[in-house]
Symmetry: C2
Subunit: 355 residues, 2 copies
């Protein structure tokens, strides 16, 4: 059975159509099953495809007149969902002409359009943005939410844990993912009431959900490879992710500066180039590109605005994997297994939800 194709918003991202098409072409060489619906300015896409005849053979173009700009507010983007490349790519998932959508455009707009068009899955109150981070171990880390929800209650956090675990099972081929909640200490009394309540639910439900709930983690431990999923609200998640990205760049800059500080260091740098290239490869955000909106009736993947063709190809790889492994169906099955009752317990959360 062939997999559904992937709709690509060809106009999003800092460099637009050229990089998106080059990324799709690179992905084609890696994932032989992949097929595309390229959404955007027909003429520009056609021109970009001239350099990639093999890609043209597995792609259809869907013309869109309009583009959502980086600074457009979600409310503005929503009104133009039917005429823009981003909106039309998502609507292709809604009407079944594609199985998933990828865009490198404005995250807020993408979230708003995807939520309205695809709706959240039964049992999920709010979708979450999840990304993969590298760790010191061979396994990667799934972290969510990364900014879709500024404030979250315990119920949201529990749902994020379920969705993150489903993602980790696919990303890390790990049947029983190790899940933790991000907090400012590991003792049970630490953090907000929402965190403590979510921890109580996850502790009880971990067995039913085929996950291991290991309690809280602090932000300095997340890249050590001791966990598969880190769950947090969108505010803290965004802060943590950006602090990680900024520091990796900061250390890289310091390193470059240190190596340039003397002739001897420059020579050492040239000799140890394979080592620094290896490091550069591990820290290059293009190698971890593709954040996934989880909890919607359909797969929507955000490619970084500054991603290059390699980054776009990796986002396609993430998307293809999630289609192959039926992520949405798996999350639905987990939610059904858990049942509404458990999701509302303990009493504290029921009270909160009733407010």
């Amino acid at each position: 059975m062939s997999l559904p194709r992937i709709a690509i918003d060809a106009m999003g991202g800092d460099e637009g159509v050229r990089v998106m098409v080059a990324g799709a072409a690179l992905a084609r060489t890696r994932y032989p099953q992949v097929r595309f619906l390229l959404v955007g300015d027909q003429e520009k896409i056609g021109k970009a495809l001239d350099a990639h005849p093999d890609l043209r053979a597995i792609s259809e173009i869907l013309h869109a007149d309009d583009v959502i700009a980086g600074e457009d507010k979600p409310s503005v983007a929503l009104r133009r969902a039917k005429t823009t490349s981003m909106g039309m790519a998502i609507h292709a998932v809604k009407d079944g002409s594609a199985g998933a959508a990828i865009s490198a455009g404005n995250t807020g707009a993408l979230m708003a359009i995807a939520k309205l068009a695809l709706r959240t899955m039964p049992g999920i109150d709010r979708p979450a943005l999840a990304a993969i981070l590298p760790t010191l171990q061979p396994s990667d880390l799934v972290m969510l939410d990364l900014g879709a929800n500024t404030e979250c209650d315990a119920r949201n956090l529990v749902q994020f844990a379920i969705m993150g675990a489903a993602y980790a099972r696919i990303a890390n081929s790990q049947p029983t993912p190790r899940v933790r909640l991000l907090n400012i200490g590991t003792e049970e009394i630490k953090g907000t009431e929402s965190l403590r309540d979510a921890a109580a639910v996850l502790k009880d439900a971990a067995g039913v959900l085929s996950m291991r709930f290991d309690g809280f983690t602090e932000a300095d431990k997340i890249c050590r490879g001791e966990m598969d999923v880190v769950v947090t609200d969108g505010f803290s998640g965004n802060i943590a992710l950006k602090a990680v990205e900024g520091t990796a760049r900061f250390v890289g800059d310091l390193l470059r500066r240190s190596f340039a500080s003397s002739l001897r260091s420059k020579i050492g740098f040239l000799i140890s180039r394979p080592a620094t290239e290896l490091l550069k490869h591990q820290l290059d955000p293009n190698n971890h590109n593709g954040a996934v909106f989880l909890g919607l009736n359909g797969i929507v993947v955000k490619s970084h605005g500054s991603a290059n063709a390699l980054g776009v190809a990796n986002a396609v790889g993430v998307t293809q994997r999630l289609l192959e492994e039926h992520l949405t169906e798996r999350i639905a099955a987990d939610l059904a297994r858990l049942g509404e009752d458990t999701l509302r317990a303990p009493r504290k959360i029921a009270v909160e939800a009733g407010q």
Copy 2:
């Protein structure tokens, strides 16, 4: 006029008295004016001083029978404030027999005892924990709150900004510090209501306060040297700080692993050693040790539990500088200049405070 002496909780920290005394001895060689009150087990301190006769000459020992353990809850610590080395060091500040206290013990306990013994300054609702972070520029960054307050309202954030700016004026010798609020985007509509309200107050009051308020910053920009103060609630601040620390260590580990990956890389590493040593120096947390509790009637500095003698000496350096520059008096003057009215504006905050 000689400066007041510094009370050191000699028993705190992972390695206790030996490191604390060695750190004080190192500090003595750097800061000729410094004098100490060493608080803890008389016999152990006396023994540690045998190796440091010059330190003994400028120190007095204050015997404490008891020690607060790393896992002691704040409530337990409070009950033992009068008999423990940590509690007695803080009480020395309260009764005027020392000008400031340093401890490498349990942060929660230190905060609780300091708050109860020294009380918050008039005009400050809650104290905040502030630390210095390195940046790509010669100037350092003051970041607060780092975990003293899990949830903060706009009024708290404005007060943190005032205290952080006073600290940055001293740390960076920068008369008009550039202040930003940590958020998940830089647009005015981003983040929580507390953040937006605090931004409105700071925008209006920046002139009166001799600071430059530059709006919001995201967590990936904080180490670039484009700001002097980053203000945030204690939850996000703790997450950001630990994410920075963890990533710096993570990249360091990857780098070591990369250099060990081949003989060629190992040779390159040996040649470029001065460069990697420079990097190691810049990233060593001991070089940025000493987080300050701001907003109390007295100076209390937290030294990292794992700090070595160099780290402790740096914490003493921070403390001595704050005494010399009269940090507490300066914050009081700023608060007086601003006046209660401005601190309560805008209306939103007055309403919140009245709830």
